[in-house]
Structure formats: C-alpha cells, structure tokens
Symmetry: C2
Subunit: 356 residues, 2 copies
C-alpha cells in the first residue's frame, strides 16, 4: 500500500482545531488528540506523543498559536496577554533541551510578535500572525523534506540496502521526512531494495514507528536490535547508513538519537558511507562544536520495563541519555534542503549556511 | 550484601534430584524447576531457562545423566538402553547450535559410555558414571571460574570502571562466572569501582540477570541500553570491556552474544582494552576461524514485543542472530583457566592449548 505524503502528517490544523497523532500509541492504535492550549502541547512534547526535531519545532509553533488564539478569545490584551504568551513560550521551550528546531520555531514566532508590536496591531492580529507563521513553517517543512529527499536520493547507488536509526520519516517532521524521506524517494527511484531498521531502545521508535511508516509505503524492511548493526555491516549487507539530527554545531558535530555515534563508528570501521539528513533549522551555528549541545537524560523507567512489565530489579541505577554526539569527522555528508555538505567541517558548514 | 559463590549456583544436584533455576523468571521470581529427564532439560535449554555457554554444557551433562538413571530404573538394558541414550543425546545436542561447551560436555559423557562398554559393566554403572562425570564437570567448572577470575583480575588497574555485556556470571556457569567472575574478583581486590551493564536485547540478560547478580554481590553498577556504550566510551568512563564467549575458533575469532562485535569495534575506536574470558571448553580448535561457527537465529517474537505487549506492527520481518563473531584482531587478550592469551592469533591459541 503506497500512501501519499499527506496521509502521514502527524500534526494538523483542520477546521479551526489543532490535532496531533499520539505516537506513544503507535503501532497498536492511531489515536488523535485535540490540542487546545500550550500546556497540553508541552505535555505532548515532553511525553514524546510528538517527537523528531522538525516535528517538535512545528508542534511548539502551533502550540503557541493556539494559546494566543485562546487568550485573545478570552479578551486578554496588553501586559496580561504579553505575560501569558511569555509563560507559554517558556513552558514550550523547557519541554526538551536538545532539538535545535524547537527554539528555532519559537524564535520565528517571537519575531512575529516583535513585528506585530512595531505595527501597533490589535490582539486578534497577533493570533492570526502566529497561526499563519505556524502554517508557513509547516509548508516550508514539507518543501524542505522534498528537497532533502531529492538531494539525498541522488547520493545512493541503484538497488542498495540501507540502514536507518530511530524514526526520521513523516512522523518526525511535518509529514515528509529527513533520513526516511530520502529513503522513500530513493526507493521510488529504484535506488533502495531494502531498509534495515534498528529498533532504537529505549522507546523503540524504530520498531514502532519506522516499521509502521515503511509498511504503509510498501518499502521492504527488516527490524534488528540496535546491537546487531555491527554484525550486519560486517556481512556486507548495508551499503549506506542514513540518520537524522536534533542539533548540528558550527563544525558539523551532530547530536542525534542515542546509538547514532555507535552506527557512525561502525560505518567507519566497515567502510560504509554515513549520511546525516537535516534541514537548516537543525543547525546551531552559535555553538562551535558538539561539546556545547545540551543532552537530555531520560528517566529510569523507560529502560527498566515496558508496558508495565518490569525487567530490571527495583532500585537499579540507569544512565539514559536520549541523544549522543557524533564528531563531524565520522560523517560522509550532511544532506540539507539547500544541498549537500560533502566535506563536513566548520568551513563546509559555513559555506552552505552563507549561501542563503 | 555479599553472597558466597555457592548461593548463586543455577543448577544443583541435591538429594537425588536435579534442580534448575528458571532464569526466564528473573529478577521477578526465583523459581526452581525439577528436571526429571533429558526432554525437560532440552526444553529448558531451548527456552533459555538455563543459558550461558558453560551452564548449557553442564545442563546437557546433567540432563543426560538423569535420563540414564531413569532408563536404568525402568529396567532398560542393551539395545533399548543404547537407543534411548542416543536419542536423548541427539535431543540435547540439537537445542542450541553455537555454544561449544554443549558439545564438549556431551562428548565427555560419550567417552564415559565408551569406557563403560569396554569395561563390560552393568546398566546401573553407566548411570553412576554419567552422574559422577556431570558432577566432576561441575566441580571443574567452579575451579575454572576461580582460575579465570584470578588471571583476569590481575589485568585491571586499581579502581577502574568496566563495561560488560549480557550475563557471564554465576548464572551463566556452574556458579562462578567468566567475565563477571573476573569482575567479582577484581571488585574484591579493589580494582573495580563500577560496572556498566548493557541491557542486552532482545532477551535482556544484562538488565535482568547481571544487575541481579551485581546487586547481590554489592558491586556498584549502572544499566545502559546497548546503543549507549559508544557514547559512554567516548566520554572516557570505561577503562576495560569484559565479555564471555560461546565458541572460540583456532585463530581466536570469538562467537558471543549479539552486540559483542559492536563493543569490540567501539573499544578499538575508543582505545580501550577488550577482554574475552572463557574456559578451554569453549575453544573449538577444529574450526580454523569464526566463519565456520554456526550462528543461531532466534524467533521474531523475541524482538517485536515484551511480556505480551506487542511493539512492532504485525508481520514485521526480523533478523535476530543470537550471536555475532568478533575477529581475533579486535581482542586485547583471552583469559582462560590455564592463563592469558595476550597475542590472540592461531599461534597464541595453539601455544596455550598445547600447554595442557
């Protein structure tokens, strides 16, 4: 079954309501939530009901937009309105620390607010500006996905088998995809014959979400435990590794889902190209290198059990970073909507960013 | 709480009965099974109620011993007895293909049977020989563990943090341990300050069993998902990696729990020593290298769900090798009961084996 891109959009503005697919329920159940305010959206982001750096950015923008609409509908103006939007922005910004896109999207709305203040418009105009900006970011995200898919697919040979980590498809974005968007386009162009999907512990985004997307897209795929990737690569079954990113520093160091560094090291050892696919909204040129990227640590309970079934003994200490940092030196290329950085370094990154 | 080695023996011959700790129930429940015959033991091995290469070997030997005792008690003799023991031996040999120790233990009992036949003894003598051999293998295993622990602990610096994979302790052996036996001795000698335990998907022997043992031994430990090992090593937190083995070829290539190759590649990239700890019963000098080691593939259901909770979509294809093969070139040393092979190669392995 091949599905149009539109069918997999995980966040939707429809008939004046904001709807979000609860990804924690997938693949068992396709449950849609209505998001009436920023607090509900903040909870959804914290709980990974929406996840993936580009999707988190859009979710925050939409969340602030519905909050503004609500405040205006309640008749709020002036300082009260400003305080409410400040609080909502802080709440959304505090949900998850690593994805650059979250802050990038909130900054885009902050610029709208600035322009609105300078124009001396009424509160209703601010709510309209926020919603229009969120919708524009969403349209831009879909265009970015399409451009990344085209640039990335061109890098792959015909009929190859690729490995991907976590979920970087429609569900991780506005409905297109980063690494999995490239996979989709490459499959349609005959360049990919099979996708190896890592399950991606602890929250199993690969097992739950990537398989679900690939199944809907009719792309042949095989699921493996994360630790089997090295053995698979050693057997020569993988011709490229494709992953997304949560934040990219000025020198090209990449923060992405825990396990990405492991795959990058494996790819280097096995002599396989390793591609990062991310929109420019994921770049953080203010950070010189990956050492400055804040790495979220998740709770013990995500590792010591599943679905209410306890696995490790009570009281077991756990270290559970949600992300790791892969040095630029391990990347074959970074694929963006503006083109491919094939020499990943401070210079290579700056050259692409300056082209804008 | 420090526990004596004896308390963790997972297989016991007590008052004429063979008892086995059902490791699939750990850590939630310490459930002991009574094993009356070879078929029950074969099921226990296939289902990983007992696992770990040395423990599997002992389990097979005890399983054939109780089968022989039962057949003799039923009055079986001559060809009928021979046929029954042949069938039981084939059943046990077919449980799991990778661990060399399984075949090694069955070969030891086959030699008893040969000697019994040549001596012209009665059926009861065969049953006694089998049980005595199984008990002797068990005693030898405990001695091997103690010797490996002493040799291995001497390799570690004072107060270091080490990483281990899967479970290689008392539960994986007759009650001592391979890699985790070294960890225990090194901790008691002040050489280890913390153990990082990988959870070891899909069956979570690290999360369920290694944490359980380390907790009982009072050794500080932290659990991580398998894919976090690279990031941990990159941060300089790990000073040595210690793993067990299921089969070692003549050139030193090692088959061990899936994910071992990943850790060996990581250790090389991070510049950390990588030690394999295994008794001589794990060596298979008839195999020139690791390419000839049969690698068991496990079922889909172990990857796509846990405790009855389904995680991946129905029909998802899975590749689930239980083991991988690490080339000898990635090993810093192999620790055996006879000493340390510090130059792991065909020559280094042969030198140690010939010393016997």
């Amino acid at each position: 079954v091949t599905t149009s891109s539109d069918d997999l959009r995980p966040i939707r503005w429809e008939e004046g309501r904001l709807r979000l697919l609860d990804q924690t329920r997938l693949p068992a159940e396709e449950r849609w939530l209505e998001i009436p305010d920023a607090e509900t959206m903040a909870e959804a982001i914290r709980s990974l009901r929406v996840r993936g750096a580009p999707a988190i950015g859009l979710a925050a923008a939409y969340g602030l937009a519905v909050e503004a609409a609500r405040a205006v509908a309640e008749g709020m103006t002036g300082r009260a309105l400003a305080a409410r939007l400040d609080a909502a922005g802080r709440l959304l910004a505090a949900t998850r620390p690593t994805a650059r896109n979250l802050f990038w999207a909130l900054e885009a709305l902050a610029r709208e607010r600035q322009a609105w203040g300078e124009a001396g418009e009424d509160p209703a105009a601010l709510a309209r500006r926020f919603l229009e900006r969120a919708l524009a970011l969403h349209r831009d995200d879909l265009e970015c996905s399409a451009a990344m898919a085209a640039h990335g697919a061109a890098l792959l040979p015909t009929g190859c088998e690729v490995l991907t980590h976590c979920n970087t498809g429609a569900l991780a974005t506005g409905g297109g995809g980063t690494a999995l968007g490239v996979v989709r386009a490459a499959f349609q162009a005959g360049r990919i014959s099979r996708v190896w999907a890592t399950e991606t512990r602890p929250l199993l985004q690969g097992a739950r979400l990537t398989t679900w997307e690939l199944d809907r897209l009719g792309i042949p795929h095989t699921l493996i435990v994360d630790s089997a990737a090295a053995f698979l690569m050693k057997q020569g079954r993988v011709e490229a590794v494709l992953v997304g990113a949560d934040r990219i520093a000025a020198n090209g160091d990449v923060a992405n889902k825990i396990g990405t560094l492991a795959l990058a090291w494996h790819a280097r050892t096995a002599g396989i190209p390793f591609y990062v696919v991310a929109p420019l909204s994921t770049f953080d040129p203010a950070l010189p290198d990956g050492a400055g990227i804040p790495i979220e640590e998740r709770g013990v309970e995500e590792v010591v059990g599943w679905g209410g079934v306890r696995t490790a003994p009570e009281g077991t200490a756990v270290w559970s970073p949600a992300f790791d940092v892969t040095p630029a030196a391990y990347l074959t290329a970074i694929v963006t909507e503006r083109g491919v950085i094939s020499s990943v370094s401070k210079k290579g990154v700056a050259r692409l960013l300056d082209r804008g």
